[in-house]
């Protein structure tokens, strides 16, 4: 089976590209182009998206570390030893800098991120997917333009400002690790899979519930500028409570198609 992988991403409105704190993997460092179809012939494919929390510092770095660890096959959210290694890696990268008092304090409270990792693999000619997620970054499986599976959330009303977040501080993860969700299922030629961070996941589910055309809208996007236009419009559009259909947040959408 052929796997095509493509990533679209944007920072918050009003923020620069350098301030983007979502993450995805694989990316340029792994030899993958973001803005074009990467065609792969493989028996296994791994990708991940993560969302570094705005209120913490160096959270984009933490999100990148988590994604990279997932595609390298190392990340197991509930494994304290592996998590400890990643936490030390984050700490090594941020420490040793001369920082003002507030940055030091902020660093001490750690960085936080959500993560969703996807593995597609073939065994005995049967293809399957498995998802590991903590927080509100989401997986959607699309078949014949319908959403046939989603994880960890499946309703737009379930998004809030307090998702479960994985921390660089061991103590902050107490009571959080059991929030990890693992789901799996079958997939086949013609399926399309999305991995998305929360703002676009929420928009996707809300739009799909209201008008049923979110899949068509995304499938008709050809390039980065069309994606930017869509995000811009969705951030301006208000729902019946007067809230933006797509919250102003970093946005990441990875599209994986099987053919």
């Amino acid at each position: 089976m052929k796997i095509c992988y493509r990533v679209f991403w944007l920072p918050k409105r009003g923020s620069s590209i350098e301030e983007y704190e979502d993450a995805f993997a694989p990316g340029a460092a792994d030899g993958m182009l973001e803005d074009s179809n990467n065609e792969l012939e493989s028996k296994q494919f791994k990708c991940a998206v993560a969302d570094g929390a705005t209120e913490t510092s160096f959270s984009g770095l933490w999100a990148r570390i988590l994604c990279k660890s997932y595609i390298d096959g190392e990340l197991k959210i509930s494994d304290n030893e592996i998590l400890g290694q990643l936490q030390r890696q984050w700490f090594a990268e941020v420490s040793g800098r001369q920082l003002p008092w507030y940055a030091e304090e902020k660093l001490a409270s750690g960085a936080f991120a959500t993560i969703a990792g996807l593995t597609i693999s073939e065994e005995k000619k049967q293809w399957s997917w498995s998802v590991t997620a903590l927080g509100d970054s989401c997986f959607f499986q699309i078949r014949d333009k319908q959403v046939v599976a989603s994880a960890p959330l499946s309703k737009w009303e379930d998004f809030n400002y307090n998702p479960a977040l994985l921390s660089t501080r061991q103590a902050s993860n107490e009571g959080i690790l059991q929030e990890e969700k693992n789901e799996s299922g079958q997939c086949k030629k013609g399926d399309v899979i999305y991995l998305m961070t929360d703002a676009i996941s929420k928009w996707f589910l809300h739009r799909q519930a209201l008008q049923g055309d979110a899949v068509s809208i995304l499938e008709n996007l050809n390039d980065k500028s069309a994606f930017a236009e869509l995000v811009d419009e969705a951030r301006n559009e208000k729902d019946s409570d007067g809230r933006p259909m797509m919250p102003n947040d970093d946005v990441t959408w990875t599209r994986i198609s099987l053919s």
Binding site: R13, T54, S57, V94, W101, A103, D241, G242, N248, D249
Partner: protein, 279 residues
């Protein structure tokens, strides 16, 4: 829907703290030889500023999500109370506050040593305001000055998350009935909702604090009832935060604490200024 605007560098919000600096603030919190009320409030407000700064700190520096003012009212009338290089400033962006504390003190706090014991840990404690306690309580004038500052702010930030004013006091106004000035303050609004005015009454007595009441009838005297009427209803997002703190409240509470002790002062300031939507 009100109180849902994002707080961002392009759309910052504003917090104004009013501090009673009258002579009675020299008395201790509760009865006995406790901390003076003025010292406790100064510590709590310095801590609040520190927490706001840390909330706005990112890897690249401070993001100006907030403009903050602290006005005192007492012997010298009403005016800004920042000391150090911010002295005289009514409203300052949080980045300037971050980079200009009057001094950074070393204090100690007790922490768990992880082995069943308690150890003292040195912490940095930035100071922007010092305790003052002298003279009367010109609360009406303080509310009017807050209204003027916020009116200017709202002209330039029409879509902002509504400004929050927290009035910390231990006694009755000596310059008239503040109810009218409070109402005028609360009546101002951005496109996202009305200005929020919360009142925090601190006490020299050992009576139990009354936190977030929903009616005058439970309050002990006319002064408490007046402060209740001066206070805004808690918006929904803040109601949820109060619940999360484990405080039992009714459906329609006011942003008001009567007879607050130091614990409820800190808790109230934390809840009253916690953002719902930083971007």
């Amino acid at each position: 829907m009100a109180y849902s605007a994002e707080i961002s560098r392009a759309n910052p919000s504003c917090i104004v703290i009013l501090i009673d600096q009258s002579g009675s603030m020299e008395d201790p919190f509760g009865q006995g030889a406790g901390k003076r009320k003025a010292d406790g409030v100064a510590d709590a407000v310095n801590r609040l500023l520190q927490n706001l700064v840390i909330k706005c700190a990112k890897s690249e520096g401070i993001r100006d999500y907030y403009y903050v003012g602290v006005l005192g009212y007492g012997d010298r009338g009403v005016g800004p109370v920042f000391t150090g290089s911010l002295a005289g400033r009514e409203l300052a962006p949080i980045s300037e506050i971050a980079n200009n504390p009057a001094r950074v003190e070393q204090r100690s706090k007790k922490v768990d040593d992880g082995a069943g014991g308690i150890i003292e840990q040195k912490i940095k404690f930035p100071v922007w305001i010092d305790p003052i306690y002298k003279g009367g309580t010109p609360m009406c004038e303080a509310l009017r000055q807050a209204k003027r500052m916020i009116s200017d702010w709202l002209h330039q930030h029409v879509g902002c998350f509504p400004p929050i004013v927290i009035n910390i006091t231990d006694g009755e106004a000596t310059d008239g009935n503040p109810e009218d000035a409070a109402e005028q303050l609360r009546r101002m609004s951005s496109e996202d909702g009305n200005v929020l005015l919360f009142n925090l009454h601190i006490s020299s007595s050992n009576h139990m604090p009354i936190e977030f009441p929903d009616s005058e009838s439970l309050l002990p005297d006319n002064y408490a009832k007046l402060l209740f009427r001066m206070s805004s209803n808690l918006p929904d997002y803040m109601w949820s935060m109060v619940q999360e703190e484990g405080i039992i409240i009714s459906d329609n509470p006011r942003g008001f604490v009567f007879n607050a002790d130091l614990v409820s002062v800190i808790r109230f300031l934390t809840i009253g200024t916690r953002p719902s939507n930083l971007r």
